[in-house]
């Protein structure tokens, strides 16, 4: 418990603010008949509208700058205040009584003025009960009715005055306060169950007519099964066609309770009985038997052997005789019976035999380029050409592709071999730099993991459409993920890269299970020849004209193809003409000498991205991945809980609820009401009442 310092606000408030369904406005505080009274029997009404308290509550400010109290035994610097429960003669219910040593600064604005006089010892009491009874406040004699008050306070409340004083004096740490907000014990996970039996004890007479007499015996059993199994099985041997049920259990229970009257519950550590009768009508004597048996949770087996197999874990609950009637109470079963499997990704062992791929840095690539264009006598170019007769006149024609990737693939691919030479056909070109030859293009780039945690404790607001999850994937764009598949899990993004096409496959795993994947283009193909350039330019134009989502780009009506630009009048001798000899470009695309991946059919897929940008332009975009949560911000008011409650679906007796209650269904048992009155009560309960 925190200690209080000068200027701290001590809060004592009650939850009956909305007892009658109305809320006083700040500017016009009307308490009706709710008032407080000081020890001088003076009726005091709050007059300062800045005093934000209502019936049964008080906001007490402990401020500085005031004279010391007249009772020196109260150490105001200690900073501890406490309340305790007590009873007052004539009022059998417990009260919360405040005993605080307060110094109230009367000169400051906004401070609650209590009777116009400073109080050293201040006592308040509320009635904490269930009847509209009278209440005595402080030491006054006037009483007013108020009932069912709950006190909320940041002051520790103890069962006894002795405990409260011990805390105030520093002799205890306050963890024994009944409103101690420390770690609350966690409710263990498990399967809740409840079944009810209408029992009675009766005597069968010679005429075989049961005479109902006596009080019902155990009428219900409920609890939570946290471990093990619990089931019923049918026992033969009763003369009629009705059966007796035996109980088989090796379960560990949490909060196991039984009831003998159907209304009140008694906690027990052990099962109170090991069998229940379904019904019995024959034989003579006095027997206990059940009038009816309601069970929506417990599996029933045809015999004791099946029940034993079940609790031994050798039978599935789905095999129980009544599974189709109790299955609604259980979470969805895994139809395969198998647990979730983590995804195992494949490996790439594609190997090229007639062309090789080399991971080159800038230095190595520059060196190769210089060698290929070195036409000086005795230069490397002559030697390369000798080994490249099958490729035509130029060693450059042997280059099938050059593609830039925004990541050093030496960190991605694991099957590479470092060397300082490359082969042009059969010709070995030695290099001063080093390159890595890709043996198997197998590897993955890991962007890392995001924890997708719930914002609202897995309430409905943690799921779509109240919360949405988007992911930005580099070289792909923004995608929306199904948040229900990721919430409470770790989302891991990995990229698989195709060095032949420059494509990338972004895989998103939820706790190791592949959940989503998206395609993109990250490799930037560098045109090598004029033919390449036509294809490259066409691909860019097509991408701009029709983006991945079918959205028109901004290329305008300029030209529909690089060939079109030539035909528009750019003649030979111009730069365009030199690059694009008429007919050659098209022939290059359609002819036998087809560059890898640059067939006519692939043109529109060349460098295409989701974002309608080329992979080169995508280098301007963020190079990381990103998760974005879009969470709807609720406008819940402070009165939400007390005035209209929250969605519930809880089932219990009416008196177990407090505050606002609106029922879906009620089995109203009311002895004195007429039918009309009973209908009226049900109508009120269904439209909403305040308890």
């Amino acid at each position: 418990m925190a200690e209080y310092q000068y200027g701290d606000t001590l809060i004592i408030s009650t939850d009956n603010l909305f007892f009658d369904g109305t809320m006083p406005e700040e500017s016009n505080i009307d308490f009706g008949d709710s008032y407080y009274q000081n020890s001088y029997t003076e009726m005091v009404y709050p007059t300062d509208p800045r005093d934000k308290y209502v019936a049964g509550s008080a906001r007490v400010i402990w401020a500085s700058g005031f004279p010391t109290p007249s009772a020196p035994e109260y150490d105001i610097t200690q900073g501890r205040r406490a309340m305790w429960l007590t009873t007052v003669t004539g009022y059998p219910n417990k009260y919360y009584v405040v005993n605080t040593d307060l110094i109230i600064d009367w000169q400051e604005e906004g401070v609650w003025k209590y009777g116009g006089k400073p109080q050293v010892s201040f006592t308040m009491a509320w009635h904490y009960g269930t009847e509209p009874n009278s209440l005595s406040i402080g030491t006054g004699s006037t009483s007013y009715p108020i009932s069912h008050v709950f006190v909320e306070s940041n002051i520790p409340i103890f069962e006894t005055k002795a405990e409260a004083l011990a805390y105030v004096k520093g002799e205890s740490d306050g963890t024994n306060a009944i409103n101690y907000g420390g770690e609350s014990p966690e409710t263990p996970d498990g399967q809740y169950f409840e079944f009810s039996i209408q029992w009675t004890t009766s005597t069968w007479t010679n005429d075989n007519q049961p005479t109902v007499s006596g009080q019902p015996y155990y009428q219900g059993l409920r609890g939570k099964i946290t471990d093990g199994y619990f089931g019923l099985y049918k026992i033969d041997g009763i003369d009629d066609d009705k059966l007796k049920y035996g109980i088989k259990s090796n379960a560990t229970f949490y909060e196991l309770e039984y009831s003998t009257d159907g209304r009140t519950w008694t906690q027990t550590d052990d099962l109170p009985w090991d069998f229940i009768y379904r019904r019995r009508i024959n034989e003579l004597g006095t027997f206990s038997y059940a009038l009816s048996f309601n069970n929506s949770d417990i599996p029933i087996w045809k015999d004791e052997q099946d029940a034993e197999d079940y609790i031994a874990g050798n039978k599935y609950i789905e095999d129980a005789e009544n599974w189709n009637t109790i299955s609604n109470q259980y979470p969805p079963r895994n139809p395969t019976g198998d647990p979730d499997d983590a995804s195992t990704m494949g490996q790439v062992y594609t190997r090229a035999f007639f062309s090789q791929q080399y991971i080159c840095g800038i230095t190595a690539l520059t060196e190769i380029s210089n060698a290929l264009f070195d036409t000086s006598a005795g230069g490397v170019w002559e030697d390369i050409k000798k080994g490249l007769e099958m490729y035509g006149d130029s060693p450059v024609d042997d280059i099938q592709g050059c593609m830039f990737f925004p990541v050093d693939l030496n960190t991605v691919f694991t099957n590479t071999s470092a060397q300082n030479y490359i082969y042009f056909g059969g010709y070995k070109l030695d290099l001063q730099s080093s390159v890595n030859k890709i043996v198997f293009p197998n590897g993955v780039y890991d962007f890392g993991t995001f924890d997708i945690k719930p914002s609202f404790g897995y309430s409905y607001r943690d799921y779509a459409p109240y919360s949405r999850l988007f992911c930005y994937l580099a070289y792909i764009g923004w995608v929306e993920l199904d948040i229900a598949r990721y919430i409470g899990k770790s989302a891991n993004i990995k990229y698989y890269i195709d060095t032949r096409t420059g494509g990338c496959l972004a895989c998103i795993f939820a706790n190791g299970v592949l959940t989503d994947y998206f395609n993109g283009q990250m490799g930037v193909s560098m045109p090598i020849t004029a033919t390449d350039y036509v294809a490259y330019a066409n691909a860019q134009i097509q991408t701009l004209l029709t983006g991945a989502n079918g959205v028109k780009g901004n290329a305008g009506a300029m030209f529909s193809s690089a060939q079109g630009m030539v035909n528009a009048g750019v003649g030979a001798g111009t730069v365009a003409g030199a690059m694009l000899p008429v007919g050659v470009a098209m022939a290059g695309m359609q002819g036998a000498k087809t560059l890898y991946g640059l067939t006519q059919n692939n043109i529109n897929n060349f460098n295409k991205t989701v974002g309608s940008s080329s992979s080169m332009l995508n280098q301007y975009l963020p190079q990381y991945c990103m998760m974005m949560w879009e969470i709807q911000d609720g406008e819940e008011t402070p009165y939400e809980k007390s005035l209209q409650g929250y969605p519930s679906n809880a089932s219990n007796i009416l008196s177990a609820f407090s505050g606002y209650l609106e029922v879906d269904a009620v089995n109203l048992s009311c002895a004195y009401a007429t039918d009309n009155e009973r209908a009226e009560i049900i109508a009120y309960l269904k439209s909403g009442v305040y308890i």
């Binding site: 082969y423 059969g426 974005m628 009155e677």
Partner: protein, 150 residues
């Protein structure tokens, strides 16, 4: 039964409040005006000063609370027309009835969406970057050179 004892109250609670808040005005004896059932009672009582604040009553013989409307008869007597309040009268009787709550202050279920909570048009946007990223730069990234050859 002609004379009947009743306690008169000033009730400040709404009809759908089970445990109503009321202050006692007085207890007196009245006369049943006519043959009535216990749900709808008409009684005449002697005039009393603060009758105008009377809107609620309890009749012990009928075990019921009543909503009251008052007519001044002749300056000496008041006529009370009373309709029973079964919600409050029989709470102790039916409070142990089992029910399924649709909405509740004390037993909320966060898994069920609440259609009564409005949402702001502007959602909260939270962005988180990955720990790793691509590194295209003047000396970052790499080139893949594909060459025909052995």
């Amino acid at each position: 039964m002609d004379n009947i004892t009743l306690t008169l109250y000033n009730n400040t609670s709404a009809p759908n409040v089970v445990r109503k808040r009321y202050s006692t005005l007085q207890t007196l004896t009245g006369q049943l005006k006519e043959n009535v059932n216990m749900q709808n009672v008409v009684i005449t009582i002697p005039y009393f000063a603060n009758y105008a604040s009377c809107n609620y009553a309890y009749i012990p013989q009928f075990h019921r609370y009543y909503y009251v409307s008052i007519e001044v008869m002749d300056g000496e007597r008041l006529k009370l027309t009373m309709k029973s309040d079964p919600l409050t009268s029989f709470w102790d009787n039916y409070c142990n009835s089992p029910c399924i709550a649709r909405r509740s202050s004390s037993a909320p279920n966060p898994n069920i969406k609440d259609d009564l909570i409005p949402f702001k048009p502007q959602p909260v946007i939270i962005r988180r970057r990955s720990t790793q990223h691509f590194t295209p730069s003047s000396n970052g990234g790499c080139y893949i050179l594909t060459i025909g050859g052995k």
